[in-house]
Symmetry: C2
Subunit: 414 residues, 2 copies
């Protein structure tokens, strides 16, 4: 299989989506403080009202709003103060017509009351009396029991990645354990006769195994549990055995390196040999990242990524990330890692191919300017200097200076 | 101190910057696989060239480019093949004029060679001869030793948050341990007579301690090491003791809750009592978040945040986050967590005050539309429903439908 047929990026994404839709990893229970960034495994309904009782939002006097009907500076309404609500305490006060109670911010609204008058609109001619010089609407300065979160309402949806605000909502409802998806277990196998690990000296002709570290960090940032299986070389048998083991002990296997024709043949042969359906595509029409392989072995997705670090990371963002999201049952939420920017120069591109070019982003007022970073393909430094990756879709032959482009931010470095 | 003077948001940020500039936490060494998301404590220079030798980027033949001068389809240049470069192996081949060597992608360029001819432009009349029908430029299909990363060049700058691409660059240079800043240790103290923890039943008049969980998750997401000190109530002495202990054992203390006038007095009195300079501001002109307190106690920053969860999180993003960045020595990088969007309706605002309003973001082609989420102030659900927070600066009296606004994304939930 020396020559391979490139398929469009979109088709590659569709094949992955078709294979992995519904193939969601198992769930586990974690305590609320460990739930940040995890993916909710079920819908969670509120088991309490928030607030659990109607509360005042100001310091003032609880009243029956109807009793202030017609009140004005000229003709204030008169009330009798029948008691005081204390912070953090229940109250057994029950307001009857013409009665009021002192209440602090956050205090529990007494029975009968439906509004709170702020201190500045009330006057106390004596400690037991109150004059209110303004009409008060029902519900004024009050948050009603269950108004924030009603008992039984859904506070976290299955497939949502849990944010600090979700943690707050769960805490507010007294949820101490959360069912979440297990982390997606990814094995990374490095191949390539020229590779050595980072902690040994490099001999002539050898280079370091960069990809398993860079990809490992990328996948870790997406919430995966990464096993770096090390560098496999020498024989097809050894590679086949390593892949077979990785495929049964992990949710996904990523083979890194092996950009030579021989190494690609190795990968294709091993994936096809391990189980059905084997290799599903080999080669996609994008730059960088053309010699990408994808297959399924007995339900486990296997990626064969190109050896150049930049190509490997670009393909990971386009194909491995959606696969991780599908495996963890993550819903498509708003893509937060994209920004719109205007190009600072013309950039050419080949129609029929999706191009990805590293850019630096320059802030100009409320807008972003994108400055493409050029250099020989495969230089990893280019990626470290980039703020993000500009995407030129397959149906365009280039982008002009000043035109708006989408910039994909591979990770949040803020 | 019942009434307080509000200062503008910008002034509050300047006071914090002035107090904390240079107050950077100590460093520690972590192994490369644990360095993701940490802040580099020093510049790191490459201790090796990348690539460590000049490499071919294609499968082909290494040649001296000058030997192809004048070559064409009609008059190809003739070469003698003197050997084969093997993948991952040093080579002792030395090309003399008219000589070529077989070389694989990634193979080490032999001495004398300065370019590689791709297979498709070469013809082998016999196993030892080669005809090249095209002029080859010096450096063609070659990455020169040190071209990606030169020995001694800076590959990671002090103050950078380490991304997967940085991990790749460090791996490429054989850096196995990285000096990084310690995580910023933050203590969260909850106050408020009405608060109970999330694992106990709520009695009438009480509500759950939401903020210490929501804020704890927010700070954890920024790389902090968070200690939830629990709920302190009852007496000023108990609160004072808890604050004194937290201030000496942590880099920063955040006091949550206590939105009542009495609780604020407590906080101010304790900060002023603990050491110089004490409270530096009390009250900022933003909504939500007005009753915010900031002080310094013997070099430790202390924040008193408002009790409403939404206000506490908004203030955290505007004031606590810059403080964390200063303490961890983080450089101002491109703000990745902002997007530009167009409003889908008119929104009014008070001049002289910075307003922050939760919005949902709706993707429309390459643009974002922002739909403000309105509701009674302080409803935490509003924040969980928001994709981000829209900022209306103090010098504006509102924003019109269709106008562009900056949306701050509090955390990356993608």
């Amino acid at each position: 299989m020396d020559f391979f047929q490139c398929i469009p990026l979109r088709e590659a994404q569709e094949i992955i989506a078709k294979e992995l839709t519904g193939a969601i990893v198992a769930f586990e229970q974690v305590s609320l403080v460990d739930a940040l960034g995890r993916v909710a495994a079920t819908d969670i309904a509120a088991i309490e009202n928030l607030p659990p009782f109607s509360r005042s939002t100001v310091d003032g006097f609880a009243v029956r709003s109807a009793d202030t009907f017609g009140a004005s500076e000229a003709a204030p309404s008169l009330f009798t103060i029948v008691g005081e609500v204390l912070m953090g305490q229940p109250t057994d006060i029950e307001l009857r017509p013409g009665q009021a109670a002192t209440i602090p911010t956050g205090g529990m609204l007494p029975a009968g009351a439906d509004a709170v008058v702020m201190l500045e609109y009330a006057e106390q001619p004596d400690p037991h009396s109150l004059l209110i010089s303004k009409m008060i609407a029902p519900g004024e300065n009050v948050v009603v029991k269950g108004e924030d979160i009603a008992y039984g309402s859904i506070i976290l949806r299955r497939g949502q990645k849990i944010t600090p605000a979700h943690i707050g909502v769960l805490a507010a409802s007294g949820v101490t354990y959360v069912p979440v998806r297990q982390p997606v277990k990814v094995a990374i196998i490095s191949t390539g006769d020229e590779l050595v690990d980072i902690d040994v000296p490099v001999k002539a002709g050898q280079i370091r195994d960069v990809n398993s570290y860079a990809l490992g960090a990328l996948f870790t940032g997406w919430g995966c549990q990464v096993t770096r299986m090390g560098i496999v070389r020498d024989s097809f048998e050894q590679f086949y055995r390593a892949l077979a083991e990785a495929a049964v002990t992990h949710h996904m296997v990523v083979i890194s390196g092996g950009s030579s024709v021989g190494a690609r043949d190795f990968t294709v042969k091993a994936i096809d040999g391990l189980g059905a359906p084997g290799v599903l595509f080999h080669g996609i029409a994008i730059k960088p990242g053309k010699p990408t392989i994808f297959g399924m072995v007995e339900g486990t997705p296997i990626f064969g990524l190109p050896g150049h670090p930049v190509a490997a990371m670009t393909v990971s963002d386009q194909l491995v990330k959606p696969a991780v999201r599908l495996l963890s049952g993550q819903k498509n939420t708003f893509q937060r890692t994209r920004v719109t920017a205007r190009l600072n120069r013309n950039v050419a591109s080949s129609p029929g191919r999706d191009d990805f070019i590293g850019v630096r982003l320059i802030k100009e007022g409320a807008n972003n300017k994108a400055a493409p970073i050029f250099g020989k393909s495969g230089l990893i430094r280019l990626m470290a200097e980039s703020d993000g990756i500009m995407h030129i879709p397959a149906d365009k032959s280039g982008v002009y200076e000043g035109e708006a482009v989408e910039v994909l931010l591979l990770y949040d470095a803020d």
